[in-house]
Amino acid sequence: MPEIIIDGRAVTVADGVTVAAALMSEGIRSWRTTRIAGNPRGVFCGMGVCFDCLVTLNGEPNVRACITPVEPGDVIDSQQGTGHDGGVS
């Protein structure tokens, strides 16, 4: 079972899950705020189509959490706006 870091917290998640599923199984439903209104977003389409689930993965912003499988050691950070302003909530 891979150990990962979610917003600075070390957790162990199930094998073979996506980043979105890992976040949701930790009770997290939202990991991004929108660029304009700053509204919270999480999974919407669940299959890579809508880009609502964008997250910062290992320092790289705007990764689709719903279609990216977790790898051991992943560092997942929630992101704000364009994801390029830095800042973990």
Partner: protein, 472 residues
């Protein structure tokens, strides 16, 4: 990798999509003797219906079980085709298939050469906006199913499943089977119309499946509310409940029938949208299918209007997993024949007949669950319609009434609705239906024409453009 299509590896056939259609097509073509590569965006083959965990057993379509054939097929998973170019050399036609890695590897662009192309890109959910639908906890039915099938995670603790079509029952069933709780299934249409199709249902083997879904709802005491719609989603930072209302045949809510249901999750889905990005890009003829959405037009051999390009499965119109598989086999066989290989199929005429019967049934089903307009009443001025660019309904209405926009394209230019990350995949139906001139083939086709199927880092594309120019 090289940016030059003439240097790239050449395959007889590239299949885009590893769902039931693409995997069946690849198998048929390879069995006949073609060299085949399948390219699929998901981490593992299976597509939507046969989505599975990455550590699960490998997906094999029904009847495609000769492992020696599979060993000859190259499957490129976690890879998206973002563009295809056509290069004609005299009478020879070659496709330059441009790919990009997954989001961990999005700078990994590559190129595969193919003599034939089979589009089997499937479909995605068709949601409609409702106040509060941008709250975390609202997702598409397919999204909920994908969490369960792909990761074994429930979408929430208490789910309302809403929209229209038999797929609502499949979503509810998936949640119940995974141990979740469904507060209600909310169906905007009245599927009584389905009874008229009972013999057709039995014919295509779907009656048993539907009966199982209904039995399971009854056993779990889940209300199946027909002629109802979710008219509002409640919550501050996440869903806390929804308001339902009875609706008439046009989906307008009946005053005084509002009712609040507590729930932490809402799934939405009013059918599916066929994934037509690549065929639209290639100039394949598209059509409006029975469900009012776009689909690629194909002939009896699953060939599109562009020579060398074939299509199978949901990209040619939504029709279910079994139909997708048969269309795939037929496409693979046709491609093999066009490359002078004998057909690998034992009884092609029978397969064609099944395909035509199932397609006719799918069209009948689509008419039993039509798309109506009453949902537009719910939208408040501040209800987000375009989720990416955060364009509210008020601004879209203003573009129509004050600025004179008639169609979705003009609304898009005036408001940015459909210009964000998803390139209008989520909102284009709603924006189109809010316009005075809507549901036209032309307007929908224009909205579905996207220069690239997925964003590609600028550096990578710039490099490729230079290369293409050099060839031409």
């Amino acid at each position: 990798m090289s940016g030059d299509p003439l240097d790239a590896t050449e395959r007889d056939v590239v299949v885009v999509g590893a769902g039931a259609a693409g995997m069946s097509a690849a198998y048929a073509a390879a069995r006949a003797g073609c060299t085949v590569t399948i390219i699929d965006a998901n981490p593992v083959a299976g597509g939507q219906y046969h989505r599975r965990r990455i550590d699960a057993a490998t997906y094999r379509p029904r009847g495609c079980d000769d492992e020696a054939v599979w060993r000859r097929i190259h499957i490129e998973s976690a890879t998206t085709v973002y563009a295809v170019e056509i290069i004609d050399h005299g009478t020879q036609r070659i496709f330059g298939v441009r790919t990009r890695g997954d989001d961990r590897h999005r700078r990994d662009v590559d190129l595969v050469r193919a003599r034939r192309l089979i589009i089997a890109t499937g479909a995605y959910d068709r949601p409609l906006p409702v106040p509060g639908w941008d709250l975390p906890g609202v997702m598409t039915g397919g999204g909920a199913q994908a969490l369960i099938k792909g990761s074994g995670v429930l979408p929430g603790n208490r789910v309302v499943v809403a929209g229209t079509g038999p797929f609502l029952l499949a979503v509810a069933q998936a949640i119940l089977e995974a141990g979740g709780s469904v507060a209600a299934v909310v169906e905007a249409n009245d599927p009584v119309a389905l009874r008229r199709h009972r013999s057709a249902l039995t014919n295509v083997g779907k009656a048993g499946e539907l009966a199982r879904f209904i039995t399971s709802l009854t056993r779990h005491r889940v209300p199946y509310l027909r002629r109802h719609r979710v008219t509002r989603v409640h919550g501050d930072t996440t869903v806390t409940g929804v308001t339902l209302a009875r609706v008439d045949a046009s989906w307008h809510a009946t005053p005084g029938t509002d009712r609040f249901i507590e729930a932490d999750t809402l799934t939405l889905g009013y059918g599916f949208t066929a994934q037509t990005d690549l065929p639209a890009q290639l100039g394949c003829t598209l059509q409006v299918s029975a469900d009012e959405g776009l689909a690629v037009t194909v002939d009896d051999d699953q060939a599109t209007s562009v020579t060398g390009v074939y299509a199978a499965g949901e990209s040619t119109g939504v029709g279910g997993v079994d139909l997708a598989g048969i269309e795939g086999l037929l496409a693979g066989a046709a491609v093999a024949r066009s490359l002078d290989h004998p057909s690998p199929l034992r009884d092609e005429p029978a397969l064609r007949r099944s395909r035509d019967r199932m397609r006719a049934f799918a069209d009948a089903l689509a008419t039993a669950f039509p798309l109506r307009s009453g949902w537009r009443d719910d939208l408040e001025d501040d209800t987000v319609v375009c989720r990416c660019e955060e364009v509210p309904a008020g601004r879209i209405r203003n573009a129509i009434t004050e600025l004179g926009a008639h169609d979705a394209r003009t609304v898009k230019l005036l408001t940015r609705a459909g210009m964000g990350w998803c390139q209008g995949r989520v909102c284009s139906l709603a924006v189109d239906r809010l316009c005075p001139r809507s549901a036209t083939l032309d307007g929908q086709a224009r909205a579905a024409t996207r220069p690239v199927a997925i964003p590609v880092p600028l550096g990578a594309v710039a490099d490729i453009n230079l290369q293409s120019r050099r060839e031409s």
